[in-house]
Symmetry: C2
Subunit: 487 residues, 2 copies
């Protein structure tokens, strides 16, 4: 066999030989099952050391291109024919498991798909979002804090850190909660990637597919999406002006034996209502009587513009009944992805370990920066400032609705939070209204999104009243009124 070798090349001789043979095998000029020359023979043909040839053969064997039979020699392996490459766009070329992915209801409602098209369009006024006005995010303060943390902690800020979360941040959270009447210890706080992850961890730890979860109806669409994706059985309990209708809950508990009750007691998403004090106590009593944990989603509990705060469910918890969850995302900076849960009893350790297997930990750097930001009182100042601004925006939007949309519109003005929940007059459908509203340059979240059965919310829509300045919001309501008039 003739193999061109170059003794002046920087490529070692064995590699030159190996490359040549490899090429021949791959392009088929060396046929499968053909025997390679004995190493002694090829070495003598090429005028190289026998070890050099043996090294080349060994490299080919390691890659599965040749095999050696003891006492017989080295043979070329038939190439392993890979499956044919799919043509792009040929759906039938996907493997069967891809064409039959487990049913997880991950699709969005058609009405919501429509909202995507408006994103970033100039002059469009969106009331659909779930966060506060990003222009109020304390970006410059946070930049300085990040700098200080990196200069002070350096490498430590880039390591995994405590799996429960950065200890000083857990301490700060315990202090903030205590100031809101919820006594807890940093040892009962677990930092999560936003409250959404807390919800995912708790529900996946406590439920298996097919298990039942009780929710308010309507409720936060991100919770419904999660529970649907996890194939839970979801049972809804109606909401009125006092929050979840706890008097209707007991029958559901008896009938369905849920593994978890998911509730948003403050400035409920989407209705904006608060659970009354009496119902809070009743809920705790039922949790105890029917041995069912309560997940308390307090996503904007501190954004109160008037009225008296009720105690957190967790503050009424005699021990281990309630898992309390909140976040810095809604008010401060959603992109940080830092939330937290408070739990006591064996479930706390279970959640710490379940968090670890799910994503190891939440960014240590972001936690340290958030801790620095929050402790210096800036969080409280930011909250006061936001509350002041948002109260005025709420009043302005309510007035604008009164002015432009009055006929037959039904609203219960919220005492806090982000949302106005609005019933359209007559039998008008929010899903039908949305495309017309988008043409007028405004949007909202249609009520169907928040119900198990989208049809139940057909007449409702949710408006985020904190996200735009008063004048701009009024213009949005004016456009909405035009769309309603056309419908």
């Amino acid at each position: 066999m003739r193999i061109p070798i170059d003794r002046n090349s920087p490529t070692p001789l064995y590699e030159q030989i190996e490359k040549h043979l490899r090429q021949g095998i791959l392009n088929g000029s060396l046929a499968p099952e053909a025997r390679l020359p004995a190493s002694r023979q090829l070495a003598s043909d090429l005028g190289v050391n026998r070890i050099t040839v043996e090294n080349a053969y060994a490299a080919l064997e390691a890659d599965g291109l040749v095999y050696s039979r003891v006492g017989s020699g080295t043979y070329i392996l038939p190439p392993n024919p890979l499956p044919k490459i799919s043509r792009p766009g040929d759906e039938t070329a996907w493997p069967l498991w891809q064409r039959n992915l487990p049913e997880r209801s991950l699709g969005a409602r058609a009405a919501v798909e429509e909202l995507r098209l408006t994103a970033g369009r100039a002059d469009h006024i969106s009331f659909a979002g779930g966060i506060s006005d990003s222009n109020l995010f304390p970006a410059e303060d946070f930049r300085k804090v990040l700098q200080a943390v990196m200069r002070r902690d350096g490498i430590a800020a880039l390591e995994y850190g405590d799996r429960r979360g950065y200890a000083p941040l857990r301490e700060t959270i315990a202090h903030i909660l205590a100031s809101q009447g919820l006594q807890t210890s940093p040892e009962n706080v677990l930092i999560t990637a936003g409250s959404q992850q807390a919800l995912a961890l708790v529900s996946q730890l406590l439920l298996e597919p097919g298990d039942t979860i009780l929710v308010e109806s309507p409720t936060y669409s991100g919770a419904l999406d999660l529970f649907r994706a996890l194939n839970f059985r979801i049972i809804g309990v109606p909401v009125d002006g006092q929050g979840m209708c706890v008097d209707l809950l007991e029958k559901q508990l008896q009938q369905h034996h849920p593994k978890l009750v998911y509730t948003i007691p403050n400035f409920h998403n989407p209705t904006g209502t608060c659970l009354s004090g009496a119902r809070r106590r009743e809920l705790i009593v039922l949790s105890d009587r029917y041995n069912v944990p309560i997940f308390e989603d307090d996503f904007v509990g501190d954004l109160r513009y008037e009225g008296r705060a009720q105690p957190a469910l967790k503050a009424l918890d005699p021990g281990g009944r309630v898992i309390h969850v909140s976040t810095f995302s809604k008010m401060l900076m959603p992109g940080l992805r830092v939330g937290f849960l408070v739990a006591d009893g064996p479930v706390y350790d279970g959640l710490v370990k379940f968090k670890r297997v799910n994503d190891l930990a939440t960014s240590s750097l972001i936690q340290r920066a958030l801790h620095d930001y929050v402790t210096v009182g800036r969080y409280q100042a930011h909250l006061r400032r936001s509350t002041h601004i948002f109260r005025k925006r709420r009043d302005a939007m309510l007035a604008a609705i009164q002015r432009h949309l009055s006929g037959g519109i039904d609203i219960d003005p919220p005492q806090g939070g982000l949302f106005i929940w609005l019933k359209l007059p007559g039998n008008l459908s929010a899903d039908d209204l949305l495309p017309r509203a988008i043409r007028e340059g405004v949007d909202f979240m249609p009520g169907g999104n928040f119900f198990l059965d989208g049809g139940d919310g057909a007449g409702w829509l949710r408006l985020n009243f904190v996200v735009h300045e008063e004048g701009w919001a009024e213009e949005g309501i004016r456009r909405l009124a035009r769309a309603v008039a056309r419908l």
Copy 2:
């Protein structure tokens, strides 16, 4: 009824009345079912407006302390007795669901619990960890990049951003992968909170509790922990010097019909071996024949010190068979919590949506900073520098083992990655060795951690060779040798 009111107080009159009545109800001096005075009567008693009294009664009613019967008056509700407070330390006081949490095997092996005690102890040399030397993390460069991003992007860096991940970072990742021979598009990249989250998402999307997953035996303990927590049936396929024994795989596929094959083809954790080229092709063929997806965990694929890189399984994928996952955690900075997966076909959209319901998104700020850091070529420079340093550390540790631990020790020197996998002489047990090693001031990860049945790894231990400088590592091996001698 006499209620002391102070007309000079800043507290409104209705609130003074309400507070007084509330106190009486809660301390029992106003008995349940007692009727409150008619509002007209009380108003006249106190010399206040009737509306003031009605406001006080309404506030009490909203809180569930009183109720009104039409035409009859306002009555005190019996207080809702909350369940008794648990005494701390009384385990039987937890609700039943807490005492019977779903079996999720979230406990750690006793041997590993021992490792926690050594954390942070001065003069202790740990070879147990799974990450690289944090002293090499580019903290100062990263600080500057963070600054630049916050100054440039401001608020945008603190919003949710694209749910698939920051588009320019996905583009950079596609470029890096292309340079490693894996052609893909940013549209097929999903950013995750480290590779651990990618693993959690893929396995939870494709499997339900009780479904079967195939893994190498031994394999990454964090994957075993996750799969156990999710109650999957786990089947192990042995590993030899060429990686997973793919010739034994077909029988397992026929017998167990797994929903996923989890593999670490490069510098396998814990054994350090690489899957041969022939086996890679065979694995793709089997994936196709048995309609089973492959999860390729390439956690340190680019940390190669010698030898030729094999193509990624994803590079051999004819379309939609392989989900490829990698991370910036191992080499760069674990505290960032940024990893990524590459997938094509319907499963990609499913994963994007499943990520969204699990934690909405990964920190936009960190993604932007990472993108800036990586594009300017610093990642590649950092990789070259690390590879150079780690190669020397590997050689030094192999030499130290030769010098101090030679008798009967069995090692296959790894061509890259982080780990040396070491067989103890005779029937010595790594679990027995660990406490003795800790007393000598050194530790390691015992082999039992990486096996389905911990007993199978009794004679093995995993050493992280990149984490300490040569001299310090040699001292560690010397201590380990003393512990072995004592055993």
